[in-house]
């Protein structure tokens, strides 16, 4: 099978006059090793969804253990073999389940699945570029991600199972191959997978930053970029600066595991045998890990913030409130996120003074977060709100962000963290603020840009059902966990009923598990809707949501190069919704001010040379015409 496509030569094809020529594309070059950013976005999305389903199933497995810690399920032995002898998941495999669930969700779904999909799809389309700065590197970015995913999953098939030291892989558990079953080959595969993953993230990130900085269309200055682009751009910068530190940490860890160095190890007696390590510190790894790890949570949430901002503006038919403040708060979060990592280490024995400093920086980051929340609320105020599934998920994201964000204030306070650290309170907090909120941001994006990706619409009613069931179940799952944490129930406990004081939580744990199971089953409804709609969904119009941004000016049918002719010029910001005096309640970015004289306001031309030039031209033409008359 071959199709006609537009392909551009590197170096010449990204200006609006760049030449294009057509040549045949094979199935492989179009669907597999594609260099088209839109196809790569779909590849990231579908791989991300696959990984999310796997991670979700893993979570249901360990939730069953938590709900029924004393019961046996022969089916588990059939499904999991040696990992669940006698109908019960083994304690070691339980830890492997939580480890791989966390790893997949944080890195493979919420980092690659979210950023990879929407940065690839939206950056060229919304800034007005024909493709990424380096399409080949972009393709490599996906394939490195795919390879990392395969290696991570393959660890289930090594003898002792996958890594089980928690998604943070703290040494010495990760550095001593004999420390536990999950410290062996499974951990080696985790490390290899992560190095490939970081390579993928870097290739992607460099492309996103270069494209945003260099390839914006005429008129698209930084202050006219949609908030999605700002969020994805700053996320890419975060990734580029933070991920290499993780690689450095991982490389040293590999040395400790294999070469006999002692970067992270000292004074160790394992199974009664003294180990030849001296002078290292496990805390060093934690510093390196969290130098990435904390920015990572913003890498996860910032794209969701950008997507939600965009969708809320479109569907409330209002400009996003405080666009500049939204951008500055994103920049603030980006900068501050690099100096808060120590709050993960308040109880490691780190110098208490340092703990105090990290507490201050951590709580400061709540200010830009609060600004964002209030601006979202102000965006809804006096709006004309359309409840598309995307809008509902964006609202869900805001609700989760509020709930989860506020509990972060407890954990950011070093004194309170003494009692809350590593309890279910933390699990509840981050699952709301970066788990549920980010997933909802991602789902909002999928529903909103599905017509752009596949040229068809998803079923709205199923979308509503998907939203409400998931939204309610997510609260039912995570809200009670706060109280378990406040009772001092530690996270990652295989059988908490071993402690007399914790047995009272059994009913809650069973309830939470069933809520999680319903939420998980609901996702199969989404998958049905997603995959069936790709082929059978109602055909999309060019701009189904009546949105202002550039991506809706491209044809419904995909074209490598995005626009058939010249790339459109941008005249205005992306949020001119319900402007008084305008005929429609939206004015796309490509509409010149000369065509909207009745709705123009002086503010439109502040710091806007293109708009001003265009308006002057129009005014002089008007004057000339009058003179002729």
């Amino acid at each position: 099978m071959s199709t006609l496509a537009v392909h551009d030569h590197a170096g010449t094809h990204h200006d609006e006059h760049g030449h294009e020529h057509h040549h045949d594309q094979s199935f492989l070059s179009k669907y597999v090793f594609s260099m088209d950013h839109k196809m790569i976005a779909k590849q990231f999305l579908i791989t991300g969804i696959t990984m999310a389903v796997i991670a979700m199933i893993l979570s249901i497995l360990f939730r069953i253990q938590l709900a029924y810690p004393d019961k046996t399920f022969p089916l588990l032995t059939t499904l999991l073999g040696r990992f669940a002898p006698n109908g019960r998941i083994s304690p070691d495999f339980y830890l492997a389940l939580v480890t791989i669930h966390g790893t997949i969700m944080v890195f493979f779904v919420l980092t690659a699945g979210l950023s990879g999909t929407f940065a690839n799809l939206l950056i060229p389309l919304q800034v007005g570029a024909r493709d990424m700065a380096s399409p080949f590197m972009n393709m490599l970015s996906y394939w490195f991600f795919f390879l990392a995913s395969v290696i991570m999953l393959s660890s289930f098939f090594v003898q002792k199972g996958p890594a089980s030291g928690g998604w943070t892989i703290y040494p010495p558990l990760s550095a001593l191959p004999k420390a536990m079953p999950g410290s062996g080959e499974g951990m080696t595969l985790w490390l290899i997978s992560m190095v490939l993953f970081v390579a993928s993230s870097l290739m992607g990130g460099i492309n996103y930053v270069s494209t945003v900085l260099n390839m914006r269309t005429k008129g698209m200055d930084l202050w006219k970029m949609p908030l999605t682009i700002w969020a994805l751009f700053l996320t890419a910068i975060l990734g580029i600066l933070a991920f290499p530190v993780l690689v450095a940490g991982v490389v040293l860890l590999i040395f400790d595991r294999s070469v006999g160095t002692s970067f992270y190890l000292s004074d160790i007696v394992l199974n009664g045998v003294q180990q030849p390590f001296e002078g290292g510190s496990p805390i060093l790894f934690q510093h390196l890990f969290w130098f990435l790890g904390h920015p990572e949570v913003y890498i996860v949430i910032m794209p969701a913030m950008g997507i939600s901002s965009e969708i809320m503006s479109v569907n409330s038919r209002k400009p996003i409130f405080g666009y500049h403040a939204m951008v500055y708060s994103l920049i603030g979060i980006t900068v501050l996120s690099f100096i808060v990592w120590g709050h993960h280490m308040f109880v490691t024995g780190m110098n208490p003074f340092l703990g105090g400093v990290f507490m201050i920086t951590t709580l400061i980051i709540a200010v830009p977060s609060a600004v964002k929340t209030f601006n979202w609320l102000a965006t809804l105020w006096r709006g004309n709100i359309r409840f598309t599934p995307a809008m509902l998920f964006a609202i869900g994201m805001v609700s989760f962000f509020i709930s989860g964000g506020l509990t972060g204030i407890f954990l950011g306070n070093a004194a309170l963290d003494i009692n809350l650290h590593d309890t279910y309170f933390v699990v509840a907090h981050f699952h709301l603020v970066m788990g549920s909120a980010a997933i909802f941001g991602m789902l909002a994006g999928v529903y909103h840009w599905f017509p752009k990706m596949f040229g068809r619409m998803m079923d709205e009613k199923l979308g509503y059902l998907h939203f409400w069931l998931t939204f309610i179940c997510a609260y039912l799952v995570f809200f009670p966990m706060h109280f378990m944490g406040l009772d001092g129930v530690p996270r990652r406990y295989y059988a908490f009923t071993e402690f007399a004081s914790m047995q009272k939580w059994l009913t809650i744990n069973t309830f939470v598990t069933w809520a999680a199971i319903i939420a998980a089953l609901t996702q199969f409804g989404f998958l049905y809707n997603f995959f069936v709609s790709i082929f059978k969904g109602r055909k999309a119009t060019q701009n189904p949501w009546e949105s202002n941004t550039l991506e809706w000016t491209t044809p419904v049918e995909h074209l490598h190069g995005n626009w058939p002719g010249e790339i459109p010029t941008v005249y205005r910001w992306p949020y001119d919704y319900s402007k008084p005096g305008a005929e429609e309640d939206y004015i796309p970015q490509t509409v010149p001010y000369s065509q909207t004289m009745s709705s123009n306001v002086p503010h439109d031309f502040e710091d806007n040379p293109v708009g001003l030039e265009e308006l002057n031209k129009f005014t002089s033409t008007l004057k000339a015409n009058e003179q002729v008359k």
């Binding site: 558990l173 003294q274 709100i385 509990t407 590593d422 309640d585």
Partner: protein, 394 residues
């Protein structure tokens, strides 16, 4: 595949019927086999699985039927020249119902599950933490309820209408300044209080009457060592670890001779305790939630936490009306398969009870260790020379 096709699909129905039959067959086979060989590995109860899968499909079918009915109703309305089901309004109404149910649910959760959380702090510094917690809870919960109420009320109040246009309001500098400065002030208050509370809790000043206790974590137990009559714990070195000297106590120092090895952690009430926290293999974490105490046990990096217990076990039993209540020490850092059960009982007692208990404890330097040390003394040169410094960074 549309719903109609899905529901009418003969293949699907056949598959479903076969699945159910298979479940029945397996059930019979299992019943027969159960009498024959009970010791065999447990078999899958496919009937149970089939039952749940059947319920799932029935629910899906129910949803599909309701969907169909709604669609027909919608089409009928449209045929009558009406606008059809106003899904937008329905979503707005569900938003307000969710808000009301959510508010009640939160209230219920706070009262029911909130009452199941930890009792009052049983340590002096814990009271400060609890005060900080109360202040933070009040402030954050005000913001939580106000913002969630605004969010869902706006959704209901400003739902789409063809008759009006949204209000064009791109920004308002005054409002934006207010909601930047207001959270900044609130957070400053929390930061200042938090910082000073933290500094007080982490005060590491050594007092003469501090009771030093060594807590050493290893897979999967806690080892406790108390000082003897001299009140001083002898030094330790991981290179001295042997079968009998499993903590590697250095018996070249006299202060080690009277150290005590104990099973249960006894603490005298209202005395300053200094827990010296160590780990031998991987990271563990000493967590005593009733005392608001937590600090990691890191190999190669001894840490310590100072606190003063204020409520005895007996008093807490009375307060909680639970005669079996015990304070417990958990491991709160993932450390391996049995991490979940690495516990130690902690008892807070009066000074007299403590002294009485202490006098009954056995010394760490037991007969087996004496014998081994005598043996080890002959080879001290060899054991001391095992400084295998492979590290590149030291």
């Amino acid at each position: 595949m549309g719903f109609r096709k899905l529901i009418n699909s003969k293949k699907l129905l056949s598959f479903f019927a076969a699945f159910m039959l298979l479940g029945t067959n397996l059930l019979m086979a299992q019943t027969a086999a159960a009498g024959a060989a009970q010791e065999e590995a447990p078999k899958v109860d496919w009937t149970g699985v089939a039952y749940y899968v059947a319920i799932f499909f029935l629910i899906c079918l129910g949803i599909a039927i309701v969907g169909k009915i709604l669609k027909i109703y919608d089409l009928t309305l449209k045929m009558q020249g009406k606008k059809g089901i106003k899904w937008n309004n329905i979503m707005a109404v569900i938003c307000i119902i969710f808000l009301l149910a959510g508010l009640y649910g939160s209230y219920w959760s706070f009262t029911e599950q909130g009452s199941m959380t930890l009792p009052e702090a049983a340590s002096a510094h814990g009271v400060k933490i609890d005060e900080m917690f109360t202040v933070t809870t009040v402030l954050t919960m005000i913001v939580f309820f106000v913002t969630q109420i605004l969010l869902f009320t706006f959704l209901f109040r400003y739902r789409h209408s063809d008759k009006r246009r949204a209000h064009f309001l791109p920004h308002n500098n005054t409002i934006e300044k207010v909601w930047t400065i207001a959270p900044a002030i609130v957070l400053t208050i929390l930061v200042v209080f938090g910082f000073f509370t933290w500094q007080k809790i982490m005060n590491s000043e050594n007092l003469k009457d501090d009771i030093n206790i060594d807590v050493t974590g290893h897979q999967f137990a806690w080892e406790l060592r108390y000082p003897g009559k001299d009140g001083v714990l002898g030094p330790k070195d991981f290179r001295l670890v042997t079968g009998a000297n499993n903590l590697g106590v250095n018996f070249k120092k006299k202060s080690s001779f009277d150290d005590l090895k104990v099973d249960t952690m006894y603490l005298p009430v209202n005395k300053s305790i200094r827990l010296n926290i160590l780990a031998q293999d991987v990271i563990h974490s000493v967590y005593m939630p009733h005392f608001r105490v937590q600090l990691n046990a890191v190999p190669g990096l001894p840490t310590f936490f100072k606190f003063t217990p204020t409520i005895t076990t007996a008093q807490m039993r009375t307060k909680l009306d639970d005669p079996k209540f015990e304070y417990t020490l958990y491991c709160n850092k993932i450390c391996g398969g049995s991490h979940y059960n690495m516990q130690k009982v902690v008892r807070v007692v009066t000074e007299a009870e403590y002294q009485s208990w202490l006098s009954r404890q056995k010394p760490y330097l037991n007969d087996a260790l004496r014998k081994e040390l005598h043996f080890a003394a002959a080879n001290s040169e060899q054991s001391g020379a095992s400084t295998n410094r492979i590290a590149l960074n030291n």
